[in-house]
Subunit: 460 residues, 4 copies
């Protein structure tokens, strides 16, 4: 779970990248990085923390040039180190090159082992570094060909931006699992994980980068390539369920709109007699609105989100009930006391946070709590870049709905059906989405190594 | 606009103050301070910035003792300097004393001049320092008497916490304009600007500190005094309109509930044919829900608030339309395009931000924009501690509703009536509130000096 | 032990103060502060740490104006807090005023108590704040008169700089115990604790500020006052022994020169058969040169000082012999092995560091160690601003030379005589110096309060 | 110019590395790094700045394990970036490996190009990274063999420490140009650039690592290898002239002693009628002592070095004469005025600083200035790791002694002869030293690429 941004042909490329990354900040808060090109060489800056803190004015001024790529990284199960921050920038026989990457390669271990056998050395645990090695070893003449050479050897879900002194390349995996969109800003081109970045910059949205497409942006403008032919798109439905920003547009639909539909359908599938609908802010709010609209049960803001979350707090020794959740959320008592409450959230992963939220709602006086989830049970891990835990940790993988109901201590629970989800996102038979986390149907074959790595990461 | 917190008789007083201040962070983000007492001496820490950043573990550990007061300060028109941070702590003939203060004295200039004539020196521009001087000059034997002596010489709206090595005093101005509540935590007592701080700490709410009440907390427990008799409460209605946190409880009502009622009444007073109701997040959301409930027009989240606002961003030279607003808010196009939109916000001060928001909504394709304000026109400055600009800057002070409509470029505008506001907060004739910013009826006489100071601050 | 600097009438007053303070950095490393005036108001900046770290370019640019005073503060037995940093700047009936102070008032407790009785409040434990209070309470019309009023009520050793929006005042106590010199820089005037600050700035040295002199610098130039008549100078001889920088000029003599003479005389008074003379760097080097010159015993650098001292180091659990001393000094074995070594240092205070140094020299193979001290035994505490410990801690106060020899584990020890010291600094009968730390003859009467305070500070 | 430190078999390896690096801090102040091993994996920390600032307690605690290597880096002509900081740590087919390196490879460009052609990617411009790549590509079974494989492909002057989870390897180039010494600390082994690090840690010096020796330290103790047979040592004489710490021991002689001998010989070779000998602190002091001893002209400290140098200072717009030099050095006037002064320094590189120092001495009133240099004219660049500028910049490369005398504005100048230098360091015919910077006789062949790189770096 990361965000990437690229710009080519703009006098203030670094500043635009910085603002674009801010608009993608929800995709990763652990580290931020920008690499720029002035046509001759690359300038790199990578820092831990949020975009606004990572790039003070003097740092942005150092990043000269009219082309830039940027990256925000999510904190994953791996180590939190500056070495893992992207873009990854190195020198090689083809000159300087930087890569920003959102996604995961499913055969990365085998490729990495093979590279190491041939003498490659690795700075980080990132998949990105593998791509750079493969490109460096390619004998091809131009950047696009070298990137194609490299990608031919890996399998996975990815959106990539590559920057050299002279040009920029953007590409998206053949199934288009991870998002990437193309726009124009004045004379130049912009690329971003989500359209939200374009809106902030006043850039004009052109279109999605297509699944399997490889775009070269250089002094000659834009050239499009499809090195592996064209394939059906299998877009990650979890972007629509949870990850993307509500104002982001996919297929001419806003994410917000899809989420409201999920809530509406959920009301159809799991109706209940109740007094009030409450969404878990912020991600559960759109579905709560949909649920309220369809069911006629009034919506209220029964849970309030602090604006100052995301920071680490010192816990007193005399422990406080639901401490972690209360730093982030507070219950509005008058909305809940004596009420039959429908609580809507986007998904249940481990169930531990949901359980605390429900306890808090009950402590505020709710008479009944009916939990409604605007996606199907999350039963399978994601190997394509969403940091869901391994199957053993997914409560829905090993527990029945009844058992989950009991664990969460709610009166009823209702998950959106797979069909309901498909209807909500306008994909009748699910043919255009990756729904693996719900169905176990992985469009891209996953190696055992990757399954084990996931297991190991969770184990620590 | 500040938040204060006090605790007496708790083994982790500093940590509790730190968490209590976090729950009051919405009342002030410029600086944070904590002073503790270990029964013998005081320990002080004051920093610029947010509570979570200001107090790393080593700093909290330095703040030993079982009593503490804390303060969060809002950025006002005055200078942003560490000297202005509170609590204000000094030594005087009566020993060490620290004061945390929320509010404003309306005769502060005269008192300060008088003190200076007598030889007092001043570190800061804060009203708080005046109180400390007056207490230091009192001949009275005990802390409560000295504080009473001091307060007798000032006039204004205030909630105060005073800490010495041995005891803590809390007091509230005779009209109870500014909030202050009392609770229990294990064996000790807690005081806070809002009940939201109690909820985070698992403290039990006892009651409001009453208008004009002075509470002494020491080894003998709690003693209540009313040095100036009892008076009718005139609570700041702007706390209910905008400033307080939605989950905070005043008079057994949550602020959220009052705001929903404001929206409901607004729908009655200013109905309109429209397709969708949109609240300006976060403060406009509850009234938008009320408006939707009463009008039957569906509520949608047409504006999304970034979680990463509050930070300063570098603006590019090639300017971006509505830059400041877009860093904070984004429009969800599918909700707005082609629609007749009711936009609900809590108040209009200068009108400049509203104007940008409306432009952004129109740019997203709205056909009509009907602006609804869940409070009456803000025509008069506040001299009691809310940082509204001087009257010249208040758009409603000098412009008719038609002119404002034109300036904001909306189709219609509707303000809640004063009667509507009174109904919403359950104060039929407005006798129990200060509504001066809406009516110009100031319960506490304001000196010309203060009016001029306000003018001067705005002028710079 | 502090350093002060003032400048009036220079377009880059803050930058000059910053460089001047750097040249006085040896007088205090705990905190640094600068206050400037632009003719209308004062601008203040005070920070913990070294001058170069405390004032980044943006901070210096904020300090506008053509007049400035600055201060560097030594870490004393009291608390290390930003509140104690100087210059001390406040507002009072006479407007804004800032004071930088080097020295100590011996009746400060009585004056402070009296002020507190009258209602004064105190931010810090600094004597400086007392002066500001006294000035604020003065009814006099002009700054010089107010300062005179204030100083009339205190007794002690001090050099002071006072800055208001319009003018600057410099003054020195009637005995001239603490140093203060006057110079010119382009059209303006400069004042500093030592001439070393003038040398860095290319300022021209004019003369010392005379004992008891009060100089007013304003738009009319320089005016000199002697509010308490003229008195004999009693300059602190410890400045010459240890504290001042070697290149500083006092009475047309460099401090370096005086120290070489101390070593020469020491060789006469305490000759010894030895192979090599070694100075304890850096303060013992000049006397070591003098000792070598007079005795004919060759000088060698047997102890090397690290350039990176002054920083705090983490000590391992497996303790290291002489850890604290070895971080700072290293022995050069070939100089010491098998040799009879004369070690020269400027003074012995507690004796604990000397003891470690001698152990280190013995560990390097020295056959004999003869310790020579270029000042008399330090038997009495300083109440005038040099941070020597209380008498109980001064090894020479309670131990005979034989006992000290034994404690230090050296073969012989030799202190310079009082007469020798007088000869070295060219003051035949000691009439022009304060030698209280060696003789117990305090030129300014010391109150019991101050003696007790010293005791208490040391006790903690 | 860098310093390296290694320790194996100590419970507080990171803390020992931290202290050892502090004792080597004079060898590099730009960045500091430590890598530790706990037997299973490596822990890395690299920071810009001084050792004491780079490793706060929490950082040292993170660096667990009983083996460690560390590095301090000098600021060279290349870029100052965290990527250039060492030790360099990566993963490869042989597991994790870290390398700390002092020195330079003279055929690095060719090797790097060759590696890039084979697909290697580079993070930094450091020679160290080349070694890691070569080791990663080696097919050999054990670490020592892989390092031998790697070093067989490069040519240069180097001292290296390599750390893996299980073992540590130390090695020194066949000519022993760069220093490396071996010691014991409790049960474990220590390695360092200079013995000064052992002294601080109470470690026992065993011997130098021999030229061409490769030492393996692991659970089995110490094993010594000489993969390329034994060769004559050609130790860098500039370490003795300038770079090493005076208390460091080489061949049972301290550096200090050698420098005193240089001064003595210089007095023989270039006598002059004069009144006083002054050393340029700190590096010129030992030779000044030697000059004084032999000539009988008295030594004085005519130049004083600030303890607070090394920091960057803001220069005022109204420029100050000799600003850069005066921040660091001050002249003691009474020592210089009217005198014929012999000034002793260790070397002249560009001549610009010397020129300022001489101007300052003349401004202080010196009648004559005789400059004496305790090494021969520096005519040739160093390709083996000392950061001397390219030949074009070396004043002695292009100017006669007369021209230099004129440029420096001194009365006479006298350089130590090559024979004098050899005599001083006890190497009669210079057979055991690299004296290339003085003689142009490079013991290790230098490729044109390296000569050009040097040229390019200087050019920028």
């Amino acid at each position: 779970m990361c965000g990437i941004f690229g710009i080519y042909g703009h006098p203030e490329a670094a500043k635009m990248a910085y603002l674009g990354l801010h608009a993608l900040q929800h995709r990763g808060q652990e580290s931020a990085g920008i690499v720029t090109s002035d046509g001759t060489r690359l300038y790199t800056s990578r820092k831990m923390g949020l975009v606004a803190d990572a790039f003070p004015p003097c740092e942005l001024e150092r990043l000269v040039g009219s082309a830039a790529i940027g990256h925000v990284r999510y904190s994953t199960a791996g180590e939190s180190r500056i070495q893992e921050a992207q873009p990854f920038a190195v020198g090689c026989r083809h000159g300087s090159v930087a890569v920003a990457h959102n996604g995961n390669f499913v055969n990365v271990e085998a490729v990495r082992t093979n590279l190491e056998t041939k003498g490659s050395i690795f700075q980080s645990s990132a998949d990105t570094e593998v791509i750079v090695h493969l490109m460096a070893r390619s004998q091809a003449d131009d950047l696009a060909a070298r990137l194609t050479d490299a990608l031919r050897q890996v399998r996975g879900a990815y959106s990539l931006l590559v920057l050299t002194a002279e040009s920029m390349v953007a590409c998206r995996d053949p199934f288009g699992v991870r998002p990437l969109v193309l726009g124009r800003l004045r004379g130049g081109f912009v690329l971003a994980s989500e359209t939200s970045a374009f809106r902030l910059l006043d850039a004009t949205y052109i279109r999605e980068v297509e699944p399997g497409e490889l775009l070269v942006v250089d002094g000659n403008g834009l050239t499009s390539h499809f090195p592996w032919g064209r394939q059906e798109r299998r877009f990650c439905v979890f972007e629509q369920v949870y990850f993307a920003r509500p104002d982001t547009i996919i297929d001419d639909r806003t994410i917000y709109q899809d989420r409201v539909r999920m809530g509406q359908r959920l009301a159809d599938e799991h109706p209940v007699e109740a007094d009030v609908v409450v969404g878990v802010p912020d991600s559960g709010l759109p579905a709560a609105i949909g649920y309220s609209q369809k069911s006629g049960i009034p919506l209220e803001l029964g849970l309030i989100r602090s604006h100052y979350v995301g920071r680490t707090f010192i816990e007193p020794q005399q422990s406080i009930r639901h401490f972690g959740v209360k730093l982030k959320l507070s219950a509005v008592e008058t909305v809940l006391v004596g009420k039959r409450v429908v609580v809507v959230d986007d998904s249940i992963v481990r169930g531990t946070t949901c359980r605390k939220i429900i306890k808090m709602i009950r402590a505020a006086g709710a008479k009944e709590v009916h939990f409604r989830v605007s996606s199907p049970p999350t039963k399978f891990p994601c190997y394509y870049g969403i940091d869901t835990p391994h199957r053993r940790e997914l409560i829905a993988a090993s527990h029945s709905v009844e058992e989950i109901t009991q664990f969460l201590d709610c009166d009823t629970i209702g998950y959106l059906s797979v069909e309901g989800l498909r209807w909500s996102v306008g994909d009748q038979d699910g043919a255009h989405h990756c729904e693996a986390c719900f169905t176990g149907d992985y469009p891209i074959e996953v190696s055992d190594h990757v399954r084990e790595r996931q297991l190991k990461l969770v184990g620590t």
